[in-house]
Amino acid sequence: MQNYSIFALVRHALNGHTTWAPAWRSPPLKESYDVVVIGAGGHGLATAYYLVKEFGVANVAVLERGWLGGGNVARNTVTVRSNYMRDASIPFYVKSVALYEGLADELNFNMMHSKRTMIDVVQTFPKMRELRRRQLTMDIYGSTYVQISTEEVRRRIPALTGGGPDARLPVIGGMVHTDAGVNRHDAVAWGYARGADARGVELHQQMPVINLLRGSDGAIKGVETPRGVVRAPKVAVAVSGHTTTLTETVGLRLPLRTMNLTAFVSEPVKPLVDVVVNCPDSGFYFSQSDKGEMVIGGAPDMGQSFRRDIKQHVFEDTVTAMLSLFPSFRKLKLLRQWGGHLDIAPDASPIMDETDVPGLFVTAGWWGGYKAIPAGGLTFAHLIAKGALHPLMEPFSLKRFKHLDYVMESGTTTAR
């Protein structure tokens, strides 16, 4: 793997940047692999990387329907945080945030990780009580939440001029989550892809999986693509939003519904907000990108959806809520909007397991799953390589539905 450094930059600059090697190869498709990972998003690529690096599994291929890193890993708002609710969840996200902080070194790729803090702007007492309950549990696992006054919220977010005492929902205080940050989504996809490729993983783009294939013994035996059958004794599904579409090709129903979550960005402006701002009572959040754009997210569409654009009234609701707290944003021109397909389980927690089809593994239900990519990839690789769940993921198996042992995280993400 060619190393990226200041010296490499100078050397290649002297050659007019004509000497950089491609970041990964495009080898021909083979007839069989030890492990086929479906989906070259954050989770699929991280899984492939850790399969080789941590567990020494050779002969791994990642099959991607579109282009590498063009799914939700490229469509999300890059908030990395660990302020969840349950004892089962928080340690996992603490681990993932820690892995993110070391990822630039791990992958020799600049992640532009900016640990800039998230502030929840709280406008109702029930929400404040809910966040204080979370604080208590988070404290056990070393995730930080600190309550601050309304004055302190306004001091730290000067653009927050709405929500005064006469507003319908006055700001009553805030919660500060110092572990939170943002980073560069492309770097995450490309960094893991390059690291996986360097360790021998084959990355195949424009390679949709049409069907999963079962052998006569009921176990998985491979996948069907437009370029023929690819055999593998282990197939790992990491297709965010499209999980059930694939698993139903082998008759496997899963407790997942697919929704469309959307976001939009403004024109770039001078630095104005230096934290991630989350307004759970009003139903929107945003951060300012390094380029100066406001990156804004709201609620998902109501009901299941395989669309990838924002609905007019979702957009209007989000903008209206935002302007009630940030009236000066009225002047911002909005440039782009988009959406992405995410699947969600009834308890809003992820699902990671080997399924009832032996050899078929799924990682799914990643609603706010960008933050989860490093630990999600590491633990999924553990499951595929060892056939046993990583301790951090034990609460998230499919068994939890058999026993109705939900890990209820509804309400700690942007899900309605």
Binding site: T245, T258, G303, K311, H313, F401, K402
Partner: protein, 85 residues
């Protein structure tokens, strides 16, 4: 913008409605159904790339509950399959 047909008010903008969740089969008797059927009823609904059957509530209108078939790819309101209720 989706126009949802309310039986009383006619086609009204989606912003007047609250989503009421997917239409589910009748709640089984938990003493009669097996564990698998009970868990499936509680946790699993169809997730089609195509028409879904769902409840909506005309909450900012007349207050009626209604069901529609909606295509998840387009959000168009469509005819349900002939064999469905």
């Amino acid at each position: 913008m989706m126009l949802i047909p309310c039986p009383f008010c006619g086609n009204r903008s989606e912003s007047e409605f609250a989503y009421g969740g997917p239409v589910k089969p009748d709640r089984p008797d938990s003493h009669v159904t097996d564990d698998e059927g009970w868990v499936a009823f509680l946790t699993t609904v169809p997730n089609p790339v195509g028409p879904v059957h769902e409840h909506w509530w005309h909450v900012k209108g007349c207050g009626a509950w209604l069901t529609i078939w909606r295509d998840t790819r387009t959000h168009d309101i469509v005819e349900g399959p002939p064999d469905a209720g």
